[in-house]
Symmetry: C2
Subunit: 229 residues, 2 copies
């Protein structure tokens, strides 16, 4: 019991420190008029593929920037480099706790590389993980979760914090629906059980389904953030 | 820099304490002659479905037991209850660090519920996560990783610790290969780059592919553990 109590205090301290840094990040974003999306998912749910399509479609309409979080490698950043948008890679490998998430300090460490005042919308691609990324605010305006239907129906119940904290869920890999034993209605029921009425867009990077709707969502949100600035 | 140094010391302390508890678990398993598999994957890669098939096929040949790790819910344990094997659910929700993995202490907390001396092989189903579970030994004999080909080719490079620490990789959801843009050769090349020659079995819970091979692997390993006891 004692051990658990000590751990809890350590954790609370870590999260308090994180919140303070997240607020500092947020202030920088607000000053620059940059709308910030924290994009989260399991490994391999399709975040980077969706981002490629987003950059392809939107880079002439919206000044986009990307902060890539990965445990190791610059593979995702390399995939996005061809779009010539401001892009920074943060590797979480030297961090704390298994480096399974971005925290506010890691995001802060990447910001000097980004010309925020020239970025309308910054997309932060978090480490692939359904648990810890949800616990760490990084100063974002919105949390967008990418959920691949290949992951099964039950995950909203098993990883409720992540689903509960999402502002929008991109239900992805919809092109595979006919090849899976996936009960979409059941999944949506579970999703509504933990986050009633949360926005959802059915997407497929392969077929392009839902990408217009997602890009409009992003454009509208960024425009609104600029307007209130 | 100071903050990072403090965090590093805390982490090392946590991992040292974990190793000591893992060794204590290991001693219990050895005394009981129980072969222990730590099964790890991303969320939704198919661990529970593979386990259902394993229990269905093997429960008359091998005395199996299961320790289920989940952040919340007993959904997985409920799915496996119909096989009437010794089964315990550990919820990681009150734990430390986002509860994104099983550690040796959580496993230890579940052991009193399991009649180890009547279990030839215990399968520990870890929390779905490609990062932290790999950092925490729980006293297992082998680590079996389930990798769904829907997760893309690049994950061995992005999550190297997990792939490096695996003793066997079940390359799962092979029934979907024809519907994906997945380059199997490239994935296997990346796998060999981080864990040269690691055992691999191509599986599908849907078609039954590879399940005989996987069950034989488990049976042989458990028999060998008994023989040296």
């Amino acid at each position: 019991m004692h051990r658990t109590a000590v751990k809890k205090v350590v954790l609370e301290g870590v999260l308090d420190a994180n919140d303070a840094l997240a607020q500092a990040n947020r202030q920088k974003f607000d000053e620059a008029g940059t709308y910030v999306v924290n994009m989260m998912s399991s490994p391999g749910a399709g975040k980077t593929s969706l981002l490629e399509h987003t950059l392809e479609r939107m880079r002439r309409k919206l000044r986009l920037g990307v902060l890539e979080g990965d445990v190791q490698t610059t593979l995702d950043a390399d995939r996005l480099a061809r779009f010539h948008v401001p892009l920074v890679q943060v590797n979480t490998d030297p961090g704390f706790g298994g480096e399974c998430h971005l925290d506010a300090n890691m995001v802060r460490s990447g910001l000097p590389e980004l010309p925020l005042s020239e970025i309308d919308a910054l997309i932060i691609e978090n480490v692939g993980n359904l648990v810890c990324p949800a616990e760490f605010k990084v100063g974002e305006d919105a949390r967008v979760m990418v959920y691949a239907i290949t992951e099964g129906e039950d995950k909203p119940l098993k990883y409720p914090l992540m689903f509960r904290s999402a502002d929008l869920v991109l239900v992805n890999k919809m092109d595979l629906l006919e090849h899976l034993d996936f009960d979409l209605e059941q999944f949506l029921g579970y999703l509504d059980a933990v986050n009633p009425g949360v926005g959802r867009i059915f997407t497929s990077a392969r077929t392009g389904r839902g990408l217009d709707e997602w890009c409009s969502w992003l454009e509208n949100r960024a425009a609104r953030a600029r307007a209130v600035q």
